[in-house]
């Protein structure tokens, strides 16, 4: 048992999976000697060599494209895209190929690869270094989209993603990298992809969040407990796609109310799919319209205005109160 922050926990997942399976290799910009700009791949090259931990040339499309070729051959590449805002330069490789080779080849090939990307705001960074783009990947059939919320589940989900036979997009909230330490057992753990967790039980309202927004949701639940005396249930999605509809529906059948929190812009975002899934499965239990607390539908606003754009505790509390009072 050791107390690890998310960077160390992710590093440990990579280390453990590479020890376990010689087919796992890491490639990306600055992942080798430098250990990645966030140090998630620190020391891996020293341990596993430059053939397995590859400092690639600076080209996102070829990082993903060559990894597709490696995966088709039977290797299990873990790619790092330095910031999720740069992934549009490889989006065609992800959408056209990662997601489709199993279907295109009718099962002759599959693409067991992981694409790690730091995402989200909260670190006072420039444009393309602060956005949340999970909706693009969640919408693509053939992909899985995973976003952990803390060190322990990050390690277990990354291990699961590496062992998954299908391509997994793995978002890491930059604001969580060093936010907190958590006790993590020494032995590797696996959390199933596609399963949400109830982070806190309650009966008055369901708050649904993932990644960096989980902390916001939990703090909002604290406020609602302390100031309003209501017990809010908080669900940590962990996997955006495939969506764990069962856990969402079960919760809302109990609470009758739901508020969804995400950092991505509102329209056509994950919140819309989550809300529809709840309506499909728990319509007769709903006591109020489902609310979404998200970033606004505007392009990048600059970090001087980021706090006004990204959901925070007061906005979530306010939406929850309106929902409770409906």
């Amino acid at each position: 048992m050791a107390k690890l922050n998310m960077v160390k926990a992710l590093n440990q997942a990579l280390f453990q999976e590479m020890e376990r399976d010689a087919d796992v290799l890491v490639l990306g910009e600055d992942v080798g000697v430098d250990g990645g700009v966030f140090r998630v791949t620190d020391d891996l090259q020293r341990k596993f060599g430059s053939q397995r931990v590859i400092d690639s040339p600076l080209a996102e499309a070829a990082i993903i494209g060559t990894a597709v070729g490696m995966a088709l051959y039977g290797l299990k590449p873990v790619c790092e895209i330095q910031f999720s805002g740069f992934a549009f330069q490889c989006f065609h490789q992800i959408e056209n190929h990662c997601a489709r080779y199993r279907m295109r080849s009718q099962g002759r090939f599959h693409v067991p690869m992981v694409i790690r990307m730091p995402y989200g705001g909260g670190v006072r960074a420039l444009e393309h270094h602060s956005e949340s783009e999970e909706q693009f990947y969640a919408h693509v059939p053939g992909l899985k989209m995973v976003i952990p919320s803390g060190p322990r589940n990050a390690r277990a989900l990354l291990a699961a993603a590496i062992r998954d036979p299908d391509p997994v997009i793995f978002f890491e909230a930059k604001s969580l990298y060093h936010a907190a330490k958590e006790e993590v057992p020494d032995e590797s753990e696996i959390l199933p992809i596609g399963r949400a967790q109830v982070a806190r039980e309650g009966n008055a309202l369901t708050l649904i969040a993932y990644g960096a927004m989980l902390r916001v949701a939990l703090e909002a639940a604290d406020v609602l407990r302390d100031e309003d005396g209501v017990a809010v249930e908080v669900i940590d999605l962990l996997t955006v796609s495939p969506l764990d509809r069962e856990t969402l529906v079960t919760s809302v059948k109990k609470t009758g109310r739901a508020v969804i929190v995400h950092e991505a812009p509102k329209s056509f975002g994950p919140g819309a799919e989550i809300a529809t899934s709840i309506m499909d499965g728990a319509f007769l239990s709903l006591e109020a319209p489902i609310r979404r607390v998200t970033a606004y539908d505007v392009p990048f606003v600059g970090f001087a205005r980021e706090k006004a754009n990204v959901p925070d505790v007061p906005r979530v509390v306010s939406a929850a109160r309106e929902t409770l009072a409906f």
């Binding site: 080209a59 070829a62 060559t66 070729g69 190929h97 009718q106 059939p141």
Partner: protein
């Protein structure tokens, strides 16, 4: 601190062994066995006859849109001939002749062009990627395969196909760059057929050759007469041997010509002259190689008929394929279907009896109705 000229010892060669007049450079002539020469010609002829047959099948609505290979048989067969079955072929979408050489059954390719993904499924032991349509995006896959082969210590090499238009795409340059830096066993075979749909080579690149683009990435590039199967073979064999020996990647530019349409929904009269086509018809790769074989008394009597019979038999098998079961669409989306997708499948299974559409069914839209990239919707 003078301003000095760096003198990179770069050169780009053009290789031609058998020209369109039948002149042969005996010093460069590859030493191929009679059986090998015969099988080269047979594969080229099969590619040509099938291509012409497929155009008719498309016009009859029995298959959908496809990209004919006519004119590019030497570029395809001369290069693919140098691979072992354990090597990898990474096709674009105009490599029908080469794919048949690699063992794709004709009926399977017809099935693919009739809209059935089953036709794009490589056999379990086949080291071929399926057809890739987005231009040049398959090239990084070839580099990744080659990296993986090297990583595993296998002696496989990878041959990737693309056209002149693809050399304007970023993925081409990124793939060449990664291949150079990683020094992996990959051979980039560019079929420079002069036209990317309606855009001629001179509007595609200001480079004198495509081969020279390799030099910027630190790899050898060679231009060959792509209608001369002996030259394509010789350059490819050299590149394959170099790759297998651990001496890295090569770019081969095969200068050839698309004698037919870009796809079956294209009308080349809109952008190029009949004189130009006639000029290239005189350089037809089959005519030239046929003359070479004739002189060596290697032409097999009745070969055309044998090839046509093989094609006819394959078409019969293709048309006897059972109709597509819609539920199969859920079989290969994921290793294990997520719950919600499984529910979608179950709903389909429960809600309607399977309504399979045969490729030639009257109630289905004509297969050619779905355009490929850049395809004109009008037909001649």
């Amino acid at each position: 601190m003078p301003r000095i000229a760096l003198e990179p010892r770069f050169q780009v060669e053009h290789l031609s062994i058998l020209d369109s007049e039948g002149n042969l450079d005996t010093a460069l002539e590859p030493q191929l066995a009679d059986t090998e020469l015969r099988s080269l010609y047979r594969a080229m002829l099969l590619g040509r006859r099938l291509d012409e047959r497929m155009v008719r099948l498309q016009r009859q609505g029995r298959i959908g849109t496809f990209a004919p290979t006519k004119g590019q048989e030497a570029a395809q067969i001369g290069s693919i001939f140098t691979l072992r079955p354990t090597d990898w072929m990474v096709p674009s979408f105009r490599e029908t002749a080469a794919m048949i050489w690699r063992g794709w059954p004709i009926e399977k390719l017809l099935l693919f062009f009739a809209g059935h993904l089953e036709g794009g499924q490589p056999a379990p032991d086949q080291h071929d990627l399926p057809i890739a349509i987005p231009v040049s995006t398959q090239l990084p896959h070839a580099v990744g395969l080659a990296y993986a082969a090297q990583y595993r210590g296998d002696d496989a090499v990878v041959m990737a196909y693309f056209g002149d238009g693809a050399t304007s795409e970023g993925d081409f340059h990124e793939a060449m760059n990664f291949a150079g830096v990683w020094h992996v066993p990959v051979i980039f075979v560019c079929q420079n057929n002069q036209w990317a749909i309606s855009v001629p080579l001179k509007k595609q690149t200001h480079s004198r050759t495509i081969a020279q683009k390799a030099l910027a990435y630190g790899l050898p590039g060679i231009q060959v007469d792509g209608n001369d199967v002996l030259a394509v073979y010789a350059a490819s064999r050299e590149a394959v041997e170099r790759a297998r020996a651990g001496d890295g990647p090569t770019l081969i530019e095969c200068v050839t010509y698309r004698l037919g349409v870009h796809t079956t929904a294209d009308d080349p009269t809109k952008y190029r002259t009949a004189e130009e086509v006639a000029m290239w018809e005189r350089k037809d790769p089959l005519t030239r190689f046929r003359g070479y074989l004739e002189k060596r008394n290697l032409l097999e009597e009745g070969l055309e008929q044998k090839v046509d019979d093989e094609i006819a038999e394959a078409i019969r098998r293709f048309e006897a394929t059972p109709p597509a079961d819609p539920l199969v669409m859920f079989d290969h989306a994921y290793a294990e279907l997520p719950a919600d997708v499984r529910a979608q499948r179950d709903a389909m299974a429960a809600s309607e009896p399977a309504r399979p559409a045969r490729p030639d069914a009257n109630d289905s839209p004509p297969p050619g109705a779905t355009p490929m990239r850049g395809q004109r919707l009008t037909r001649r």
